[in-house]
């Protein structure tokens, strides 16, 4: 009888708590979004599975000695995984469109307003009972507006590790929802005529420009914002490997095998933070709401900046490309192209939108560096 009781007590059924069951359902929800809806499946699938694993009673995946515990502390707490992913993203990024039309950097800068405006929202949420965000928490939440998964995870792991799970879920969910969130805002802020604007063809960019560009960006970051050098440095390394043309093997590895392996572990590590006590609270709802606000403000400010630039620029600028200033590469650029095609079937904005899109990646990395420098110390 005694051993039977012992056996029963060692089963999952005897040890389940309600919170764990709810979080397993959340994990299943993420798996559903990844598999059935193709929402950022590369990350949401391992993240959803990680959420299920971490909530298994007795197994202790996320306690000292557990697999997810080590994955989290080795790769996310140290910031290594998001940085390796950033290197891969750098190796996949072509700055040609940006170098050909450098003005679009201003669009990438304007879209970062979503990040800084959300800081207010996060502080204002402290009026809601049960929510208590410090300035560090608020900064980590606001970076969701940068629409850049690795940057959000990197900053959250440094400023507010206890909110990391909710922030990562919000960031990747909204990135997947870009085609749904952005078009209504873009249409509301532009006229039919503006959406029809055709832009001048971009000039060809030489190899030497593409090689010197990442080095120049790195140099500027070293001089002006060393706190952003982990992100920008890895990004530039990846980009230089791509553009130099002499280390194709490394470049291919960075943008394929390495980024894939890291994504598996990053997803699992973030999933391990989806425990009931960390996720099932009012703060998570607040983070999800703020993420949507941050995203919308970023999109709107990018479009408004592009409208203003169009008034003063001698070459026409279609305001739709401003929305691509939130990073979310290349989804945001594709959305700008699609909305442009709806207004004018002969207007292909994709290459023009890639400029602000990659500018947004740099912009959000710079914004993250500023938040780290001013709040993180």
């Amino acid at each position: 009888m005694d051993s039977l009781t012992k056996l029963w007590l060692s089963t999952g059924l005897a040890n389940f708590e309600l919170g764990q069951i709810v979080m397993m359902l959340v994990g299943c929800g993420l798996l559903y979004l990844a598999i059935a809806r193709s929402f950022e499946p590369l990350l949401l699938l391992p993240m959803g599975f990680g959420a299920i694993l971490t909530n298994i009673p007795i197994a202790g995946f996320s306690e000292a000695g557990g697999l997810l515990h080590y994955i989290y502390y080795a790769g996310i707490d140290t910031g290594i995984f998001p940085l390796i992913i950033f290197m891969g993203v750098g190796a996949m990024t072509d700055f040609g469109a940006l170098i050909a039309n450098p003005k679009t950097l201003l669009l990438g800068a304007a879209a970062q307003f979503g990040i800084f405006a959300t800081l207010f929202g996060a502080i204002a949420l402290n009026y809601v009972p049960g929510i208590e965000f410090t300035l560090k928490d608020a900064s980590a939440i606001a970076i969701i507006g940068g629409a850049d998964g690795p940057t959000a995870i990197f900053l959250a792991s440094k400023l507010a590790p206890e909110l990391l799970g909710a922030i990562a879920v919000a960031a990747y969910s909204y990135m997947a929802l870009v085609p749904i969130i952005q078009p209504p805002i873009m249409k509301a802020l532009t006229t039919e005529e503006e959406r029809k604007i055709e832009m001048k063809q971009l000039r060809p960019v030489t190899k030497i420009e593409k090689i010197i560009f990442p080095l120049g960006v790195l140099m500027m970051t070293i001089f002006f914002l060393p706190s952003a050098t982990p992100l920008v440095g890895m990004f530039c390394l990846g980009n230089l490997m791509r553009e130099s043309g002499v280390v194709d093997r490394l470049s291919t590895t960075a943008q394929n095998e390495l980024i894939n392996i890291t994504t598996i572990f990053l997803g699992l590590g973030v999933g391990s933070k989806l425990s009931a006590e960390a996720f099932l609270n009012v703060e998570t709802l607040g983070i999800l709401a703020l993420g949507a606000v941050a995203f919308s403000i970023g999109t709107a400010s990018g479009v408004l900046m592009a409208k203003t630039m169009n008034k003063f620029s001698k070459d026409p600028i279609n305001p739709l490309i401003g929305a691509a200033g939130v990073s979310a590469v290349p989804m945001a650029a594709r959305v700008a192209n699609k909305v442009g095609l709806e207004a004018n079937p002969h207007n292909f904005l994709l290459m023009h939108a890639m400029g602000p899109n990659v500018a947004g990646v740099l912009g959000s990395a710079v914004a993250a560096g500023i938040l780290l420098a001013l709040v993180g110390g």
Binding site: P102, A109, F116, T206, L374
Partner: protein, 90 residues
């Protein structure tokens, strides 16, 4: 309450400083592209001709190769029918 107000002021300062810095940083980058990179591009242009024509040939031959005989047959069938119809209409 005072604490909240202080936090709002801090958030405001952060927003102002942050946006100014982001614009300044990316603004300097624009200057860098327009001066240094543009000059480099003029001084060291790409040796375009050979690789360019090769790439063109490759892509055009690929594009040709991509059309399967079935598609060609379908298109020529459609053209024939269109011509026949067009002739009847006239």
């Amino acid at each position: 309450m005072d604490n909240m107000q202080q936090q709002f002021v801090e958030a405001g300062t952060l927003m102002l400083a942050g946006m100014v810095f982001v614009f300044a940083f990316l603004g300097v980058l624009i200057v860098f592209i327009n001066t240094v990179l543009a000059r480099l591009a003029i001084k060291f242009p790409d040796p375009i001709v050979v690789p360019h024509s090769r790439a063109n040939k490759k892509s055009s031959s690929k594009a040709k190769g991509d059309i399967s005989p079935a598609v060609v047959a379908a298109i020529s069938g459609a053209v024939k029918r269109y011509r026949a119809q067009h002739g009847q209409d006239k």
